[in-house]
């Protein structure tokens, strides 16, 4: 199968007042359709930058990057992906339904279609009945679910998530992780997921990309042998602990080399 995302020798250097910063160096990565790929590494390793390059929010200074066989800019115009940020970033002046409707309005969906999609995506993230509520009436976890619904509403094939649960407490985070897996199983979307948390990365992913800083680069790519069906207690299994250990080793090796 053709990869959905394909990076070859990707480089990105930011010019700052303290001299150039090598945010990405020689990144090679192929991501196939329906994969769940996590990016993990310390701050400054370029994991968010890579996601932003895929989204066309940053322009690489070298190498090639293709999304659905197109340039990231063309892919964005073709609505190839939905993006979920660390903060829910819902508009306080719009209801939950109104927030999910926002991308549909901008993309010019017909009225009937907008209503249907808002209803469907709300059901998908288990927020039925909250359509008319305002964001401040929802808890942090529910707001983040609404922001995932907003990214799903126009049914892009790729979901880019930049530490979406980073600001939530561990109990809420566990539940949302479970729900995210079931969402992924139902929709079959290609997931790119940036995180700081080793258990989160191991629990969610089919593949874990370990990155290290200065310059930002890939130090290890770990294929997960875990089955797609994953109850929460899989985290106590031997296989899970072994992968988590390998991720930790990869992170340490990357730090020592830097």
């Amino acid at each position: 199968m053709d990869p959905v995302i394909s990076a070859r020798g990707l480089n990105l250097t930011f010019r700052t007042n303290d001299g150039p910063v090598h945010a990405l160096k020689d990144v090679d990565l192929d991501i196939g359709p329906g994969e769940f790929v996590s990016f993990i590494g310390p701050s400054g390793c370029g994991k968010t930058t890579f996601l932003r390059c895929v989204a066309g929010l940053e322009t690489p200074t070298g190498g090639t990057l293709q999304v659905n066989g197109m340039s990231p800019d063309a892919a964005r115009r073709a609505r190839a992906y939905g993006y979920v940020f660390q903060a829910a970033g819902l508009y306080p002046w719009r209801t939950i339904g109104g927030n999910i409707r926002l991308p549909l309005e901008i993309m010019g969906f017909p009225e009937e279609e907008k209503r249907k999609r808002v209803r469907d995506t709300l059901a998908l993230v288990d927020l039925e009945g909250f359509e008319k509520k305002y964001p401040w009436q929802l808890s942090g976890g529910m707001q983040q679910r609404a922001s995932i619904a907003r990214a799903l509403s126009f049914d892009a094939g790729i979901l880019l998530m930049d530490e979406p649960f980073g600001a939530l407490d561990e109990i809420v985070r566990d539940r949302l992780n479970e729900e995210l897996l079931s969402l992924w199983a139902r929709t079959g979307k290609t997931m790119l997921f940036v995180t700081h948390s080793i258990p989160e990365a191991v629990y969610l992913s089919t593949r874990i990309v370990v990155m290290s800083p200065r310059p930002g680069r890939i130090s290890d790519v770990i294929e997960s042998p875990l089955p797609r069906e994953r109850p929460l207690d899989i985290r106590d299994s031997r296989a899970f602990i072994e992968i988590a250990h390998r991720v930790r080793e990869g992170l340490r090796a990357g730090m020592e080399a830097a």
Binding site: R76, Y83, Y91, M142
Partner: protein, 333 residues
């Protein structure tokens, strides 16, 4: 999951009638400190009347052959009001609160003048404060509309064009450093010479004062969405127009209303100042000027109080619009 507000949310469990009750309780809570301050001010005002009016009171007593100290009128003229009041306490207190054309009329005298100006005249009479207040208010509102329109237009330009950002803001700031009292007669004379008179010149002076807070607040408001919000819209491929109408404009509303409240008060000051050099035919400014020509201090104070009430009413009305609009937008204020 059920259709309920989470218990943690603010206002959870409060229905509409509950909100009204909360509001009423809040009003009562606000009323007590406000009334206390008013009582203190009125008490201070009465107290100040004694030395302020002591000169006239002692003068009158001397004419009525009541013994006062010092006896020589020339000597008395050299003394300050406070010293006179201290040397003739009885006379000073007795004559402090009822003088005609008092240097400082007592609150009840001003209240009586205000009442007769508001209720004692037909509203079309040029002795009616309602009539004068309406003249000033109409210029204020027209100027406020001009100023707000100009302010918003400039803010939109500043946010979208780097050239305007660099060029307009310094001039807007400089414009506010020119004393309005100096520039108002020039505006009126220049406009009169091209055949514009009446309400428009006053409104332009109002607009001159009120556009500035609107520009400042609106620029801040239109720039208030953070980088993440802008990135989100750019992932949808939104046009600049869509970014403006779907994000920047709604995000700027709380800032706009804060500016509008300052703007309308400035607008009222502008209208009053604009009435001073016009030959003082009508308006609260004209009332102030006529009062000072003829030494009618009660009239001056009554006009001042009327202007204050007008300003408070304008700001209050804007606050009500703000609550309704932002409430409809789902924002808590």
């Amino acid at each position: 999951m059920s259709d309920t507000t989470p218990l943690a949310a603010q206002g959870a469990g409060i229905g509409r009638s509950g909100r009204v009750a909360l509001w009423a309780r809040g009003m009562r809570r606000a009323l007590v400190p406000v009334l206390t301050v008013v009582a203190v001010l009125v008490a201070f005002w009465y107290l100040a009347c004694i030395p302020m009016n002591a000169g006239a009171a002692v003068q009158q007593a001397a004419r009525a052959d009541i013994a006062v100290s010092p006896e020589s009128a020339a000597e008395r003229r050299q003394m300050g009001g406070l010293a006179l009041a201290l040397r003739n306490p009885g006379v000073a207190v007795a004559g402090a609160f009822g003088q005609e054309r008092a240097r400082l009329p007592a609150p009840h005298q001003v209240a009586a003048e205000l009442w007769s100006g508001v209720a004692g005249q037909s509203v079309t009479s040029n002795r009616s404060l309602v009539y004068h207040a309406w003249v000033t208010l109409s210029a204020t509102l027209l100027g406020f509309v001009f100023g707000t329109g100009l302010g918003i237009a400039l803010a939109v330009g500043i946010v979208h064009s780097r050239v305007m950002d660099m060029s307009v803001m310094p001039w807007a700031i400089v414009s506010q450093t020119v004393p309005i009292i100096a520039i108002a007669p020039m505006i009126i004379v220049v406009l009169y010479s091209v055949g514009i008179q009446g309400i428009v010149p006053k409104a332009i002076i109002s607009a001159y004062l009120s556009f500035f807070p609107v520009v400042v607040g609106m620029v801040k408001g239109l720039r208030s969405p953070d980088a993440m919000q802008l990135d989100l819209l750019s992932t949808y491929g939104a046009s600049a127009r869509q970014v403006f109408f779907k994000l920047r404009l709604p995000a700027s509303m709380p800032y706009l209303f804060a500016s509008l409240k300052i703007g309308i008060a400035a607008s009222l000051v502008g209208a009053i100042v604009g009435e001073l050099p016009t030959g003082a035919s009508a308006g609260l400014g004209a009332r102030l000027l006529a009062g000072s020509y003829y030494g009618q201090t009660e009239q001056i104070w009554a006009a001042l109080l009327a202007a204050t009430v007008l300003a408070a009413a304008c700001v209050g009305a804007l606050g009500a619009v703000e609550r309704v609009l932002l409430g409809r937008m789902g924002m808590r204020t």
